[in-house]
Amino acid sequence: MQSFQGKSVYKGIVMGPVVVLKKNDYQVKRTRIEDAQGETARVQEAVKRSQEQLQKLYDKALKEVGEASAAIFEVHQMMLEDEDYLEAIQNMIQTEMVNAEYAVAVTGDNFSQMFASMDDDYMKARAADIKDISERLVRNLSGQEDADLSNIDPSIIVADDLSPSETVQMDKEKILAFVTVHGSTNSHTAILARMMNIPALIGVPLDLDELKNGTTAVVDGFTGQVTFEPDEETQAATQKRMQEEKEKLALLQELKGKENVTLDGKKINIYANIGSVGDIGYVLENDAGGIGLFRSEFLYLGRNDFPTEEEQFQAYKQAVQTMAGKKVIIRTLDIGADKQVDYFNLGNEDNPALGYRAIRICLKQPDIFKTQLRALFRAAVYGNLSIMYPMITSVEEVEKIYEIVKEVEIELKAQEVQYRIPEQGIMIETPAAVMVSDRLAELVDFFSIGTNDLTQYTLAIDRQNEKLDDFYNPHHEAILRMIQMVVDNAHKCGKWAGICGELGADLTLTEKFVRMGLDELSVAPSMILKLRKIVREMKVEE
């Protein structure tokens, strides 16, 4: 069993037999010709055939992969029509009296070099395109058939490098993975592999001569490793992971794009909880309707000083723009003495859970709060942004918040800075907030129930304390009654209520939550489709 490390281009894990693609090292010979016009005619004939082949590849790619990726073949067609390229070939034939194959090969090399030596990564990758079309022309000139890659058994393709045409020509159903010795993450192969959802590794230092067709290999797109002749333990572990991946994909296929609606027509929003801009990919991949909790702490942690307004603004802006119109609820900073933020100078506390944290810091140190609010109001111009305030315990706190909001608004107006005051809601995570939720509902736009902290404060249990496991019941009647109370109070004022705590992802409670009238559940991205499945298979009226 041997493993090699490369770079992963697409995640996924497969096991199967290897097929080694060796380049037909067709040596282009230079010969002297007598009939320059005849040679030029040959080139034109070959260009025509190439265009036909490229059209076929374009159509196949369009059908199997998509427009954006198929476009590369359109570009190949345009390159083949390029005046400079064709004139250079023609000139070489006429002035040096050489055969078409040679003229094409050399011209192709020259143009390819020009691109390869450019600074821009994207342009560098185009050198491979020029090589590809020149090779195609030479193949057509010398009467060689395009390598027939359509009749292989489901295999892992191992090659030195793969041109876009080679990648698309293969029968998608028969390819388990790509592994190449060269290639770049910008290359078309990489792009196509991603679109075809096929695990692919590039830059794997392999000796293709040593590798035999049919050898079993495991391609791990998560670690970027390829393992040849895996032992039994590895085989079993791989089978298990392949099964998990398969189930995940099946769920995705079945439920993506479908509504979160019960059999009798009740709808509920299913959003995602995330902690950084980098997680947004998972949000969209798992088809969340929006982000129900965007923890803003990532901007404050792991550094020595406060994030500037500009830094925050850019992060919030990027988030709402990437979500392209789907709601993004950003929670204002929720930090306490239990987190590592020395520059906040919070000092040590005996009971950080009951201490100086979250909105309390913001209200006592309005400078920090205002910076965040300014960044949020400015970013709100760029998309569907909402704000959520954590750790609320009273009506007075909300009124104070709104005073500060008003101050910020006046400042922004005076400075003629573009802004928008977005939807503002609060987290219900303290028993106090639950008990005055009828009054809070009059003041805010929505509630989001933070069941983690709410349960701790209500049951008076520290969840980290294992000794208390027997006493900890996340389904405690008290919590469920509180949730119902909060939902009812919100609805009485025409406001919506959701859950962003872990309980939202408890699949044994989903039906109950729908019947309770929750408008939204915000959960870890990986749980979204599982929730959707339950919602779509249930009836509110039993």
Partner: protein, 85 residues
């Protein structure tokens, strides 16, 4: 001769796909259409040379058209740039 200046807005600059479409567009006219960036000038109708200009987001380019249909050409080209680049 007619001309206009343009600052590239597209994130990827003049990359393969719009370059191809731009070259196609420029070929429609009898006028000679050129594009200049940082002192280097190439014909708009030549795809590979156009791409080799390496025009990136934020770059200022000057497009010129000279010939019988230079008015139409420059107007259509400016429209193309605004819509695609």
């Amino acid at each position: 001769m007619k001309s206009f200046e343009y600052t590239i807005k597209d994130e990827l600059g003049i990359h393969a796909r719009p370059a191809g479409l731009l070259a196609k567009e420029a070929k429609k006219y009898s006028s000679v259409c050129m594009i200049e960036k940082g002192g280097k000038s190439v014909k708009l109708s030549q795809l590979m040379m156009l791409m080799s200009l390496g025009a990136k987001q934020g770059d200022l380019v000057k497009v010129t058209a000279e010939g019988e249909d230079e008015d139409t050409a420059i107007a259509e080209l400016e429209k193309f740039f605004n819509e695609n680049l």
